[in-house]
């Protein structure tokens, strides 16, 4: 613990050096010789500390895609790796660290000769604060050594097992796990490379690695898929002849089982509680006269219990709080769609978006962040659905997309990345954004993809 604190502070220091460098560039560019680099350095540090606050100050409707402050990400260099799979390894690790949005990719210099020390000055002058040196061992394991370039010393070292056949799904996931561990060594936060995203395409449930590799269908039918926190099961809904039912697929065996089977019922928008025990979903039956209500049932099966009683209104898209005790959902009970929070038994309902009551916006698809601090949602802005983030502590509402139609957000396990569907590239596809930097990247390609949901960190590969 103590060590990790020291490590973190050291890297803050490294980051501040970057700010100083940026400050010099800044003053050169603007010819302002009177500005001292140390002052800029302090200013930059302040910027880092208040990055969330400044992001919230951004005016609604301004494109922030791709704009991020230089210096907030540590330069990382991955040295070339020996062996036949070395190039793939290096490429995947570089991309993982880049997609984490906590590092700035620095092109590699030539690796040191065997048994020669690292030339820290050279690596530093290339712009890297972190150096990743790896070696494929005869056993097939990968030895990873991470250097703190600023302190000119080894930061952490470990040997990782990898499946024997390179470039298979399992092997790739094994490499992602190494990248996530490297990220934890350096930043104290584990990465999200070893995760997958489920989505629907052509009315089937698909799964894709979070870096966009290996997209494949996993069910014969289905929409609105959502992960079980084990990462082994996906719950989704599918049209049968006279009803819409919830189903569960086992990602390992490929088996499908039905979760609900009520004649005449339309069961949609399932969400599994973070403790894995319960499923909350929306059901409309004719008997309830035009209303769609929330129901909760055990994940292992059983009788659903109705938890919202709102005659005639549509209550949809429930999402659990991290402690599995509350749900957020959308409802048109006030006359238009707004976001509400209630206890999991349906009591203590409160209107979340009351603050913005004056805007006649249609809000939908609320999702609670894993750290409990935010609720992401989609909302109509100028006639088009956009992704917004509501801060529960300061009741702030911040827009994170503005390009195309953007819908159905879902959080990554790091609570900092969101996957959502967007028409920004033409056809509707899944995109990921980092809410800290605003950086965007496309995850899926091909025919229309939507209803993305991010898996937990996958400790073993299904």
């Amino acid at each position: 613990m103590f060590q990790s604190v020291i490590r973190t502070s050291r890297f803050r220091h490294a980051a501040s050096r970057h700010h100083a460098a940026f400050g010099r560039t800044f003053s050169r560019a603007f010819g302002s010789r009177s500005v001292y680099a140390p002052m800029l350095c302090a200013l930059a540090l302040l910027t880092v500390a208040r990055s969330t606050a400044t992001a919230q100050d951004r005016p609604v409707g301004v494109t922030i895609d791709g704009g991020y402050a230089p210096g907030t990400r540590l330069g990382v260099m991955v040295l070339p790796i020996n062996g036949a799979a070395g190039d793939s390894l290096k490429l995947i690790m570089e991309r993982d660290l880049d997609f984490s949005d906590r590092f700035q990719h620095v092109p590699s210099i030539a690796p040191p000769a065997p048994n020669q020390p690292i030339n820290y000055a050279l690596v530093s002058s290339a712009g890297a604060a972190v150096l990743v040196q790896s070696e494929l061992l005869p056993s097939g394991w990968l030895r990873v050594i991470v250097h703190d370039v600023g302190a000119k010393k080894l930061l952490q070292q470990n040997d990782f097992p990898l499946p024997t056949t390179a470039n298979t799904d399992n092997w790739r996931m094994g490499v992602h796990r190494i990248s996530d561990e490297i990220e934890r060594w350096v930043t104290g936060q584990k990465g999200i490379a070893a995760t997958r995203i489920t989505f629907s395409r052509d009315e089937r449930v698909w799964v894709v690695d979070s870096d966009g590799a290996n997209p494949r269908p996993v069910t014969p039918r289905g929409l609105g898929p959502t992960w079980h926190p084990s990462g082994r099961y996906i719950v989704y809904y599918a049209f049968d002849e006279d009803r819409i039912r919830l189903y569960v697929t086992d990602v390992i065996t490929g088996a499908q089982r039905s979760l609900t089977n009520e004649k005449g019922a339309n069961d949609v928008t399932p969400s599994v509680s973070p403790d894995g025990r319960s499923v909350v979903f929306s059901r409309s039956v004719e008997a309830t006269a035009g209303s769609t209500d929330l129901f909760v049932m055990p994940f292992d099966g059983g009788r659903p219990t109705r938890v919202s009683v709102s005659r005639g209104s549509i209550n949809l898209a429930p999402s659990w709080s991290p402690d599995s005790r509350r749900v957020t959902f959308s409802s048109d009970r006030s006359g238009r769609n707004e976001i509400y929070i209630a206890d999991a038994d349906g009591t203590n309902v409160s209107l979340l978006t009351a603050d913005a009551y004056g805007e006649r916006n249609v809000r939908a698809d609320p999702v609670w962040s894993p750290d409990g601090r935010f609720i992401a949602m989609s909302s109509e802005v100028g006639g088009t659905q956009q992704i917004l983030i509501y801060g529960l502590s300061d009741r702030s509402l911040r827009q994170v997309t503005s390009d195309g139609r953007n819908q159905a957000p879902a959080w990554a396990p790091d609570g900092r990345h969101l996957v959502f569907s967007s028409t920004r590239g033409g056809s509707e596809q899944l995109w990921v954004t980092d809410i800290e930097t605003g950086r965007m990247r496309q995850v899926t390609r091909g025919s229309r993809a939507r209803f993305g949901d991010w898996s937990p960190r996958l400790v073993s590969t299904p």
Binding site: E203, L223, G224, F239, E241, D242, R243, I244, G264, N266, V268, T269, S282, S284, E286, A289, G290, T292, I314, L316, A317, S330, N337, V362, A364, D365, S378, Q385, Q407, A408, R450, F451
Partner: protein, 187 residues
């Protein structure tokens, strides 16, 4: 008059009529001409009665087809609304007459929406549309157990395109005959 012969002809004609029912009305219309043509020309009694029987079967088939077309007719809705428009009510009134004389008929109403709004909301909206159409029929005496409702939201559009013309065709309630559709009687 050879009654047995007539009955036999009728029995022979029935499966033919039934088979014809399965086709679209447009497809069968030209095929009937050679059958009805000899009625006015052929003098032998046997042939005449056979032709009469065929003509009767044909008129039954036509009536069945007409009733069937009424039952399958789609109703349309306004944007983000589940209210029944006057044209939808007129269509439902016609369906009522067929349902009243065919107590064995059971139907399913499938609600659909245009592409605007979220996927999930549209499933709920499609459901409301189907339920509204059902309520119109049950309020006028049709047994509720004869009508199922279902929603496909915006997942199964009838027309592609992101314009009002396509949207108007997609905001609809479709009707499916799930029982008794083979032997429909005309009202």
């Amino acid at each position: 008059m050879n009654v047995k012969y007539r009955i036999a002809t009728l029995l022979l004609a029935l499966p033919l009529a039934a088979a014809a029912c399965k086709k679209k009305p447009v497809d069968v219309a030209p095929a009937q001409e050679p059958v009805t043509a000899p009625v006015t020309v052929a003098p032998p009694a046997e042939d005449n009665s056979a032709a009469l029987a065929a003509a009767r079967a044909d008129s039954i088939r036509r009536a069945t087809e007409a009733a069937r077309a009424v039952m399958l007719q789609t109703v349309y809705f306004d944007y983000n609304s589940d209210e029944l428009r006057p044209d939808a009510r007129a269509t439902l009134d016609e369906k009522l007459r067929v349902l009243n004389v065919n107590p064995g008929v059971r139907i399913r109403i499938e609600g659909h929406t245009d592409e605007r709004g979220t996927d999930q909301y549209n499933i709920a909206l499609g459901r409301r549309r189907a339920d509204q159409a059902k309520r119109y029929l049950t309020d006028r005496g049709i047994d509720a157990t004869r009508i199922e409702t279902m929603s496909f939201g915006r997942e199964r559009p009838a027309a592609s395109g992101s314009n009002e013309e396509a949207w108007a065709q997609n905001r609809r309630g479709e009707f499916v005959l799930i029982a008794g559709g083979e032997e429909l009687r005309a009202p």
